[in-house]
Amino acid sequence: MTRRPILLAMLDGKGAIFLGVLAALAVLVPLSNLFLPETSPLHVPTYAVSLLGKYLSYALLALALDLVWGYCGILSLGHGAFFALGGYAMGMYLMRQIGPRGVYGHPVLPDFMVFLNWQELPWYWSGFDIFPFAALMVLAVPGLLALVFGWLAFRSRVTGVYLSIITQAMTFALMLAFFRNDMGLGGNNGLTDFKDILGFSVQAQGTRLALFVATVIALALGYGVARYMVTSTYGKVLIAIRDAESRTRFLGYRVEHYKLVAFTVSAMMAGVAGALYVPQVGIINPSEFSPANSIEAVVWVAVGGRGTLVGAALGAVVVNMAKSWLTGALPELWLFALGALFIVVTLYLPKGIVGTLAERREKRKATATAKTAGIAAEAAE
């Protein structure tokens, strides 16, 4: 009977704007790319469509991270691992789609396996030629890792900085593992030279537009899921855990279960983000696991404003646009800028862009109501 308020609460002002912007992007970008002449200033070239798609997949990763960090206080320095695992699952599907068109022309084996003199496909590659199976793995592999890792960590109450450090160790260990040729996932070079996805060439303009739209939809869905979670009582419990974990326990909540749900859902979202990233960028390699990547994602969330969801997505896009521009124009400045961003945001903008704006608006509203109250009081006299 009290369902309506929840749905209403889900769609607040900034959520509506966010979904509106996403809808506009999903419609306008393909239209501009297809129908505007290349000379038009409003024309979005195909490479830019993929670039935007990349930013939006990062936005989904940031959203996932915000769900655990912003609402549950779990600062994961290993979310890049879930992103990369999703990416690898997609990459394996794309590799199998190459079929006999590889350099060595082997009917089944990807080039790097032929190169390593492997005779047959390792067992964990089977099934990846079927898209639904690969899509399932995009969710299942990161989800399972998060489930196992989280179960161990939350059950024994590893929190705060310790948790951050072991998530970092996790992604570091995975990076080392994926660098090994014995893993059978392309070692150093990773997976690349993709040809088709679902029968369409990954290079084709239409495919790129479709991938972009798919990313927008995934981001909107991800937002919907996250928003539903944080506005439900579940979200209130998460916040309670973030602020006073042991108090929440004394109320009878199994904190580890709550964390585990958030962590696993978040990891699966990150996996989807990685899966959308790979075909648009054209490669996945072990450096995606590097701890620096994961921590960079944290700064996107911090810049946009943690605990706001919309802010996280915004932060990812803004920071990555700045990165693309700076690494092009003044490459040696990028790390200075990124480093400064970490410092400035934590010191001077702890709530991030969206959080600070929201706070300011609230303050203005409060002074406004105080003023009207004052006027009313005067009038009463």
């Binding site: 080392l176 090994r180 400064a340 970490f342 410092i343 010191l347």
Partner: protein
Amino acid sequence: MSRLLCLILALACGLFAAPVCAAPADTGDALLLIASGRFPDIEKGVALLARSGDARTQAIIEALRDGRLAVAADKRVVIEGANGSWSEAATGEALAEAPPSPKAVRLNNRIRRAVEAALGALTLMAPDAAARRQAAEAVFRSRDATALATLDEAIAREEVAGIRRLMGEARAAILLGDAGASDLQKIEAVDILATRADQDALALLRAAAAQGSPTVREAAEGAITAVERRLAVLSMLQNVWYGLSLGSVLLLAAIGLAITFGVMGIINMAHGEMVMIGAYTTFVIQELARTHAPGLFDWTLPLAIPMAFLVAALVGVAIERGIIRHLYGRPLETLLATWGVSLILQQTVRSLFGPTNREVGAPSYMAGAFDLGGLTITYGRLWIIVFSFAVFSALIVALKATSFGLKIRAVTQNRRMAASMGIRTSWVDTMAFALGSGIAGVAGVALSQIDNVSPNLGQSYIVDSFMVVVFGGVGNLWGTLVSALTLGIANKFLEPFAGAVLGKILLLVFLILFIQKRPRGLFALRGRAVEA
């Protein structure tokens, strides 16, 4: 014809009673054989020469080894000297003009071995002890039966016990492979080789166990198990040693963190960059020494230690005052901000010194190695171990015995109380952070000796350092010591089974699981303070 007969006779002589037969006349025959150009004859010639006792022997054989022995068109054997001069091989007389079309005597591997053996036997009685030692080793390797007689004589004359033992081992090696030796001799040889107990001895014993008479075989098998056991112990010790050395590197990298993170609870992701700064300070000092005072090169490391401490500590002060101070009580924010600092420091160094590895040289005392009961100990590793323990002890003393240490402990245990006792807590924070950073800088001096000095140096240690501190128990310096050494040794023991990378992965996984079991580390403090 008569010459050939004589030659055969001489050969027979040589085999059974070399010294008696030694006469300069043999040199001529030997040279004839060598001039023949056929490999088997050349080999016989070398053996003959070796036994001749002629003063020219060494010069001739060395020339042969170096490819300077040649046969001229007129069948004279000549030696090519420096800058194109020639001399007669048999007499050593210089030739006024170059011989007609000299052709260098060719060697194959068999002959090369014979040459080595001959030279070995020759120098067995050299006046220089080092030369004798080398000769004994050469004979041990060649196991040339013809050297036996010389060897016996050399053993009788030898006065240095170590060399005599080596010669005895060489003799045993020869006898063991010699079909002519009696079982008694062979068993004696087995015993001698068993005391040598290295891979070479093992190989010889295995060969003996495979072919000798039953009694010899039995003795050899017994010796093999003994040697294998000893070798196993030795390889374990070697692993412990390598592990100790890796552990001391980890310790060096983690000590500073044990103060900033462990004692003060500040999570400093730029810790690795402090190490890097220390390494670059060493590099700069070496560059200065190279250009301005090359004689001081050996002093650069002792000089770099205080300088690196100072530079890193100053950077630490700047970070603490500028950033960390404003984030006390917010560990996750501190983590992010200091990560930003680490990026900036890396990029600064990259801009100043370039992205590639910089060469930091090793002073003379860091080079070389010595043998300790079968263990090879390099001076570089030894010094680093000594150094890291020295730094650790100095730190313990500083924290336990100085008033500054007392203040640090007071502030970390109860900040408000310490403040009300008149301790300037903010000053103590800064100084303690500077101390931790400075020690990281000092670690950089040591690491510059074993690792690539590049802007990424710090990155490769940050995960490890945190693992060490967390594994040992936060706030517990002794825990850090035990944990660094344990992890170092565990790593080295895993490597042979799993390979370096997989070993490291296994260790990380172990640590992740370990933290689940004991979230506060091996030697955790218990109490209310840590729960906050």
